[in-house]
Structure formats: C-alpha cells, structure tokens
C-alpha cells in the first residue's frame, strides 16, 4: 500500500461520480465541492455524518477526509443513538442534509451544490489516516467504536471492484437501498464506486416501485446493492428491475428459494456478502452455486476452540468473527449461526443481555426479557419480542422509554405485560417456557381488546 491513496480513482474530469435525480455530477465538480466544503468545516476532530442522501453523504465524507477529520457513523439516526455518540465524542459536530436533528447539538447543513468545477485536483489522502469510526452495540449496551483507516477502506473497495468486475469502461452504475452509514452500505455504494470510476445513484429508494423507477433512470448496466428484505418485496411484487448487471446482497441470510426466484426474474447474478461492522466485508459467495463462503483476497481464517479469527486483506490486525463458523479450508467456511446471546435484526447486531439491561433501567419495570420469537413466516425475519413485569405501566410507556435508549430495529414487537417470568429455580429463563408464556399472553391480549 502506498503511503497515500486518492480520494477517487478511475475517473476523468468529466466522468460522472453520481446521478443526482437525473442530473449528472462530474468528478471535477465533486472534487471542487469537497475541497471547498473541507476548507469551511468547523475545526474539530470528529464529524457525525447524518446525511440521508447518498451524494450529500459522499461529499461530507470526502470533505472530512480532506480536512483530516474522522467521520462518525451512528448505528441509527434515532435521537438517543446520536446523543450517545456525541457525549462520547464531545469534540464533534453534526453534518447533515436535513434539519430533523436532535436539539442542542452543534450542527452544520451541507451547502447547495456549486456549479463550477475548476481544475481537476484529486486529493491524496494518507493511507494511515483514520477515515471513519463505526459502532456496534457491544456487550455493555454502550456503542463500541471500530475505527477504519482510509488505506483499509480503499483496499476493500478495490478488491470488491476486481471481484465483481465493476470498473470504469464497463458502462455500469451502482444503486443502493441501504444507508451509507452502515459499513456494508458504505463499502458497496460509496468507496466501491469512488475507487472503480463508476457513478452511484444519489438517493436510496425503499419500496419496489421506487427501486424500479430509480433503476430506469440510470444509463448502462446497473448494479443493485440491497438486502434480503428488499429483494423479497421485489420478488413478491414481481417488480420490473430493468438493465440489472448484478445484485449485491448482505445483512442477513438469503434463502435459496429467494435467490433462485430473483435470478430467474431479472437474469442477473446475486453476489452475497458476509461481513460485520468490526471487519467490513469478510467473504463472498454466489448463493445459487454454493453454500460455502470464500474470504477476501489475502485473508486467512483459523479457529481457536469455538472462536473464529481472521486476518490479512484490508484488516490491519487479526479480528474475531462475531459468528460461529465451520472451517472448510484456510479461505473457505460454512456459516453456522450466532452465539446464543446475539440477535441480528435489519443488519444490526445486539446483545440480548444488553437490551435486557436497558429494559430494567426503566422506572416501574420489575423484571423483563428480550427474546427471539418463532419466525412469522418462512423467509421472513422475526423482530425481537419482550415480556415485561411492570404492574403499573402501559406497554406504550415502556416502548416510549425504550425508543430513547435503543436502536429502533430492536424495539420489541410484541411487548407483552405478564405477572411473572417463568424463571427456573436457578433464575434462568428456558426458551420453551418463554415461548409458551408469550403464546398465552398474546391470546389473552387479543381476547380482552
């Protein structure tokens, strides 16, 4: 790795970096805007990038890199999550493209686009510079920081570019349905296009009809970076997704049935990514062809008891994977699942124990538990559920309190009020007893309403 890496690579001055609602933004204009914004940023070490629009996010991220500031990527835009990060990084401010921000935090709104481009200067960023810090919930419930250097992000992006064959000259663009603040969204829709000389669509469409309309507006071949939830909705509606060259999917396991239906419907290959906030992209596979995962170039796996470790590639040091795996070789593995305490919802991991502690901090809650209920339907993701002993509280009051403290993805549904939890003599909560009590409580609530 050189001691510096360019902000973007593979672009001519007038190549398109992003399609902004039908309007092209050239590489020269992007670099000029990023340099101008960088010169105008508050002189602080950290910046909370809260931009919703992908192009605004990219511009803010690029400006922070140029100014030598670390972008903090909050796990959600919920006011509580943003405040938690701000209190851990008092030397920070918010950079956003919308006014819907938690009150009382120093904030800057991204300025409107400049029309002039000027000379095409691609900023060079030190490879060792910390580019961003992403967060996992951690075992204490407090967000745990994971810093990544610019060199590591560039190595990861260039690997993806080679592996997927996404590059300048291929006449392709990328469209993502995932937020740029999620490390998977960042790798596939920010650093991958910036380092491969291909344009990215500026917003992140959500519903099948939105995705279809957004894809139709792009020229050339289109790569869709998405999640199983979006794919499932698009397959269910038999949405027309025109001009797809390939689909990248991550955040939770894909069923083979969904993969086959999607590849049949749109005649495009699905590439599935396995990764985590700590390591970024770890492995890929074509789920239509194989159940085995192959790690990124130059990465190596090993096991220590039940723990799986990985090193090499874009990783500066060895890391422990948050999942249980079966090693097939030094570079291939089968994913077995998560350790018992961890739940993963909408691409975010949380420790049930940490959620449990947040529940017990609410005044009036005597006992309570978060659990993973039986899946609602095949291929659909269950949300977490909770049972709470709180004789004087309404479920709505408990939810309001939780919404302040935890990521919305983990808000329990249903939240059932019960008289007591089925604890065993040792205080443990056997899963069978929990599920049975949940079924009874649900039936009771529906009768009484």
């Amino acid at each position: 790795m050189n001691s510096t890496c360019p902000l973007l690579d593979g672009f001519e001055p007038d190549s398109i970096v992003s399609w902004d609602r039908g309007e092209p933004v050239s590489a020269a204009r992007f670099c000029a805007a990023a340099a101008a914004l960088a010169a105008d940023l508050p002189k602080k070490h950290y910046v909370l990038n809260l931009c919703e629009d992908r192009l605004s996010f990219m511009l803010s991220f690029a400006a922070a890199l140029i100014a030598g500031q670390v972008s903090l990527l909050p796990p959600s835009r919920a006011a509580g999550a943003v405040r938690d990060i701000f209190s851990a990084y008092p030397e920070s401010y918010c950079l956003a493209d919308h006014g819907d921000l938690p009150a009382g935090l120093p904030a800057r709104i991204v300025p409107p686009w400049r029309t002039d481009a000027g000379r095409f200067d691609v900023p060079q960023i030190a490879a060792g510079q910390v580019a961003l810090t992403a967060f996992t919930s951690g075992s204490t419930g407090k967000p745990q920081p994971h810093a990544k250097t610019w060199g590591s992000l560039v190595t990861e992006a260039r690997f993806l570019s080679r592996h997927l064959g996404i590059g300048a000259g291929r006449n392709v663009s990328v469209l993502g349905t995932v937020p740029a603040q999620h490390v998977y969204g960042l790798a596939t829709t920010v650093t991958l296009p910036l380092q491969s000389g291909v344009p990215v669509y500026s917003s992140h469409p959500l519903l099948p009809a939105d995705i279809s309309a957004a894809l139709s507006a792009l020229p050339g071949g289109r790569w869709l970076a998405t999640t199983p939830a979006h794919l499932r909705a698009c397959v269910g509606e038999e949405t027309k997704l025109p001009g797809l060259t390939g689909i990248i999917c991550a955040t939770m396991p894909l069923s083979l049935e969904l993969v086959q239906a999607a590849e049949r419907l749109w005649s495009a290959p699905i590439h599935e990514i396995y990764g985590c906030t700590e390591a970024g992209v770890v492995a890929l596979r074509r789920p239509a062809h194989t159940g085995q995962w192959r790690v990124c170039e130059n990465m190596r796996l090993w096991q220590k008891g039940e723990e799986a470790w990985i090193e090499g590639g874009h990783l500066p040091r060895a890391l422990r994977l948050p999942d249980l795996i079966e090693l097939v070789s030094e570079t291939e593995f089968i994913l077995l699942g998560r350790p018992g305490d961890m739940a993963k919802i909408a691409g975010k991991r949380a420790s049930l124990e940490a959620l449990h502690r947040e529940l017990l901090r609410i005044p009036g809650v005597r006992d309570g538990v978060f659990f993973v209920p039986e899946p609602p339907a095949p291929g659909r993701q269950a949300r977490l559920a909770a049972m709470v002993v709180a004789p004087r509280l309404e479920p709505e009051a408990i939810l309001r309190a939780l919404r302040e403290r935890i990521d919305p993805a983990f808000l329990p549904r249903p939240l059932l009020i019960v008289d007591a939890l089925p604890r065993s003599a040792t205080g443990k909560l056997p899963r069978e007893g929990l599920l049975e009590l949940a079924r009874e409580a649900l039936a009771r609530d529906q009768r009484s309403a």
Partner: protein, 88 residues
C-alpha cells in the same frame, strides 16, 4: 377512538398481519400515526405493508412520492390512497 370504515378495517387487518402487531386490527385508531411515534413502524415494516397492499389491491406504492408524508400518515390517509388507486 373513531369508528373504522369498512376499507379501514380491511387495511388495519392487512397491516396487523403483515407486521405482526399485538394490537388487534379492530382496535387500531384510524388517526394513529403509523410510523415513528404512534405504532412505531419502520422501513422494513413499510416493505412488508407495501407487498401486502400490492397483492391485495393490485397497485404498487411509492415511498418517494412527494405526497408520501400524507399517504403514510395514518390508517385513514393510507386507506384513502388505496381507495383511489386500487385496481381490484
């Protein structure tokens, strides 16, 4: 709470089934906010609801519709939008 109309009752049932609500469909206030405060639904729930609506009423919802703030505001506004656009 105000009475649900026939269509609102139908849409309430569809939402409750699509996102696994513990509140029974009949008990949903037509004016309660569906997202954030209110029922607290999120974007993954919106995907499930859109899929169920497309299957039952034969048209696809858009979330980037400029009118989207009003369409998804409540059971009442969503039902009114369905009444206008349904093909079955």
């Amino acid at each position: 709470m105000e009475q649900q109309t026939k269509l609102e009752g139908e849409v309430a049932k569809l939402i409750a089934e699509a996102v696994n609500l513990e509140t029974p469909a009949e008990a949903l206030d037509p004016d309660i906010r569906l997202f954030r405060e209110g029922l607290g639904l999120d974007s993954i729930d919106l995907l499930e609801i859109a899929l169920a609506i497309s299957r039952k009423y034969g048209f696809q919802l858009r979330s980037d519709d400029p009118a989207n703030g009003t369409i998804f505001a409540s059971l009442r506004t969503l039902s009114a939008h369905i009444a206008q656009h349904r093909t079955r």
